[in-house]
């Protein structure tokens, strides 16, 4: 009888609960609370939070195990069936979908099917401001190296500044997979905090008269040189040509940008490929998001997450975000020194990828200073180009450090 009770105690997980486990539960509950009740990026934070909870259930074996446990002595990976048999479903999903880097490009395809290049095509010059906002990525890379991170780790940390979840995850998978959990959490948490970070940085760096720069009045004063007579045709040709050229220049950005542009193409063709666009932006992206969130959350076991590096990632990620916003604002200010047609520096602040939240936040901010100053479509131009910019930055980092 006593043996049965002893086995029962062993079967239950109580003996394996330590303070680390409890702390990870608290972190999981906080993420779930933020996602469910505060509605901060609920589509990501809820699966990630639940993944953290699953990974830290004692004895459940749902946490992602270290690479060395799924490799043979010669360094090659075990088969997925072996991984599933030895380490359970979560490791099977992680090594099949995350480690191979499949999910972020699939999500990018859905993002492409939801993206409208129209505002950017109407204001092409503003696309350049999406580039300046990538400075946060590279400057935090530099700072992280000084802090003691290795180059691949520092690059994964810096990419948080691109404010693009799938890009951050893709880069981290390629460069520093052991940091995937904390980096994904930091990236999505700061993206959820865009409504706080952009106004804070903008108010710190911009004068009142800059907030009041009226983009539509500027357009009337200095009208564009040529109209777009065939917007639909342009929108169909543009992703095809751009995809080919970018892939030739930065091949390592092709998995992300190629899928983004493909998703956009099937959306722009119209009803003939409408079902593909619907699938890409609906069921496929939603399925990918579920597995991405759960498995990324499951990487956050107490042994991995409770380390000094996590704190560095959280601080560094915030810096990367703030520097990116500041970089965009300063670039517009610099441009305004020389240009007749002034641009509202908030357009530079939205060079972050967080589409369309960054644009909405910047638009609301401009409207506070002038109720007729609707800058949404201008911000969307730099915002969408920011997605391209951060994917290119990721491609550069993977090429050099991967």
């Amino acid at each position: 009888m006593s043996e049965i009770f002893a086995s029962l105690t062993e079967m239950m997980g109580f003996s394996m609960i330590g303070w680390e486990t409890v702390l990870m539960w608290v972190i999981a509950f906080v993420l779930l609370y933020l996602g469910i009740f505060k509605e901060y990026e609920p589509l990501l934070l809820v699966p990630i939070g639940f993944g953290v909870l699953l990974a830290n259930l004692p004895g459940a074996g749902l946490g992602i195990v270290d690479n060395s446990l799924v490799q043979h002595a010669d360094g090659s990976y075990k088969s997925l069936l072996d991984i599933a048999n030895e380490h359970g479903i979560m490791n099977f999903l992680y090594y099949a979908l995350i480690k191979t880097g499949i999910l972020p490009p699939i999500i990018f395809m859905g993002v492409g099917a939801l993206t409208d290049f129209g505002p950017m095509l109407r204001n092409l010059k503003l696309a350049l401001f999406g580039g300046a906002a990538q400075i946060g990525i590279f400057s935090v890379l530099l700072a992280a190296v000084i802090m003691g991170f290795t180059l691949p780790e520092a690059a994964s940390l810096g990419i948080i500044g691109g404010a693009d979840g799938p890009t951050a995850i893709y880069t981290t998978i390629k460069l520093a997979p052991h940091l995937l959990g904390p980096i994904a959490i930091a990236a999505y948490s700061y993206m959820a905090l865009v409504p706080v970070i952009i106004p804070a940085v903008a108010k710190l760096l911009m004068k009142e008269k800059e907030f009041k720069i009226h983009m539509k009045k500027m357009d009337k004063q200095y009208p564009p040189k040529h109209d777009i007579k065939h917007l639909k045709t342009v929108k169909i040709i543009f992703p095809i040509v751009l995809g080919v050229i970018v892939a030739v220049f930065v091949p390592s950005s092709a998995p992300l940008l190629g899928m983004l542009l493909f998703g956009n193409l099937v959306k722009e063709i119209g009803p003939n490929t409408g079902r593909l666009a619907e699938a890409a932006s609906g069921p496929i992206m939603n399925t990918a998001t579920i597995f991405l969130g759960l498995t990324v959350g499951a990487t956050m076991t107490s042994e991995v997450f409770l380390s000094g590096q996590t704190l560095g990632i959280i601080v560094g990620g915030f810096l990367a975000f703030a520097v990116s916003v500041a970089g965009g604002i300063f670039f517009v200010k610099l441009y305004n020194l020389f240009a007749k047609k002034k641009i509202n520096p908030l357009v530079g602040a939205t060079g972050l990828s967080a589409v369309p939240m960054a644009s909405r936040v910047a638009n609301d901010l401009a409207l506070k200073y002038d109720k007729s100053n609707h800058i949404l479509q201008y911000c969307m131009a730099s915002n969408v180009s920011g997605v391209i910019g951060s994917a290119v930055a990721a491609g550069v980092l993977i090429s050099f450090l991967g």
């Binding site: 696309a127 350049l128 890379l141 342009v234 751009l242 220049f249 409408g274 930055a393």
Partner: protein
Amino acid sequence: MENLNTALGLLVVGMVTVFIILCLVVVIGNLVIRLTNRFIPVAGPAAGTSGNGDAAGKRTHSKKLAVIVAAVDVVTHGQGNVESIERK
């Protein structure tokens, strides 16, 4: 120190590459807009109204028909088709 130099190099190379690609975005965008403006004829309303009234009516009708067929296709996920359209 070596890592720091590499990081500095990456900063320069990365930012230059990002700007080159975004400049290409601007150039490609402008090129596509100019080429389509130049080589694709504009089917504006003036062309319809200046010609035969009956032909213009047919053109409008075919456009409406295309829109209805597309809408049915999207709503029914490609399962439905339009057999006839009647005005009430």
